[in-house]
Subunit: 200 residues, 2 copies
């Protein structure tokens, strides 16, 4: 019987996996995705390349898993009782300092994705899709509570609005997407577009 | 007396400049920014490298001018009488086919900007700032007409909303930002956030 990815990965303790992910992220910050080699990861973590390939399948998957590991807890457990609260919880999972570091890392990886279809695939599966799923859950709860009408045409554009805030803030404004910036944006753009009255 | 950039550039006829810009864009599509050389541009256009440097100063400026040249007419002259009309005119300057071609080109250049600060500078000066200025004019007219309140907090986020539509549509949805998509987005997100009633 073929081993599943989970079964393969379960051979490492969570502590050991965390150590490996931290080393991968350090190396990414030092040399970038294209120059990162499995040899360097193996050397830095005192593991064998065979182990790395067996556990993760390849560099792209290892990097995507490392990035996912870095994301502070899922908001799957968060249920604040309001759309505003849930969106705020979603965008303020990282504090401003972590956000600034991760923005630099994500920008570098966004460049690498352009020339590495396997990295794009791993990112979609391990990072983007789970994140989109969280948004769908948050919106579903808002509809169930009667906060947002199910047929509100802005419903399908929530990710467009929020990603626009991150990208424009970083690339055009050349400012960090701080928590206070993101909260202002939710109040000024996302909630009004969804027809949710803001308290201010 | 020092020559101004305009005086220097005026030595070329507009037709000759257009020919050069077309060749630069062709080369960009063929080899990308990093592999593009002034030698290749000179050879393709039967001009001397000295001429290219004298006219544009360098590769980054030449590429930014070529990209600006490609943009169909400014909307500075467009004044439709409504914010919806002006925004629609702004985002539908290119037809769907041109938009799809240019999106690929812009994505490649966005990657190059990451490693070429001079390209970022030239883009900001020649493409981004003039575009932001158009948006400010469009919004100013909407305020003057009484369509949007000057203190509406979404006023400062119009570019964030629209850039989010382009980026998310292209990278996450993996679909082209067609005119009909952009018009739906304006109606569903931008106008409601600005408190402008849509007719639908």
């Amino acid at each position: 019987m073929a081993e599943t990815a989970t079964a393969r990965r379960s051979r490492l303790t969570p502590e050991r996996a965390a150590e490996l992910y931290t080393a991968v992220l350090d190396l990414l910050r030092e040399v970038g995705y294209d120059a990162l080699t499995m040899d360097a990861v193996a050397a830095r973590t005192h593991s064998s390349k065979a182990t790395l390939y067996r556990q993760w399948g390849g560099k792209a998957e290892l990097v995507a898993h490392a990035m996912r590991h870095m994301k502070p807890g899922s908001i799957a457990d968060v249920d604040t009782g309001s759309l505003r609260g849930d969106l705020a919880a979603l965008v303020t999972r990282e504090d401003d300092c972590a956000m600034e570091q991760n923005t630099a890392l994500m920008r570098g990886l966004a460049m690498a994705v352009h020339n590495n279809p396997d990295l794009l695939r791993a990112f979609k599966e391990l990072l983007i899709e789970p994140e989109l799923e969280e948004f769908r859950r948050v919106l579903r709860r808002a509809v169930d509570r009667g906060e947002v009408r199910e047929d509100n045409p802005a419903m399908e554009f929530v990710v467009h609005m929020l990603l626009g805030a991150f990208v424009t803030r970083t690339l055009i404004d050349e400012l960090p997407p701080t928590q206070s910036f993101l909260l202002s944006y939710i109040d000024a753009v996302v909630l009004p577009a969804l027809g949710v009255p803001t308290t201010t």
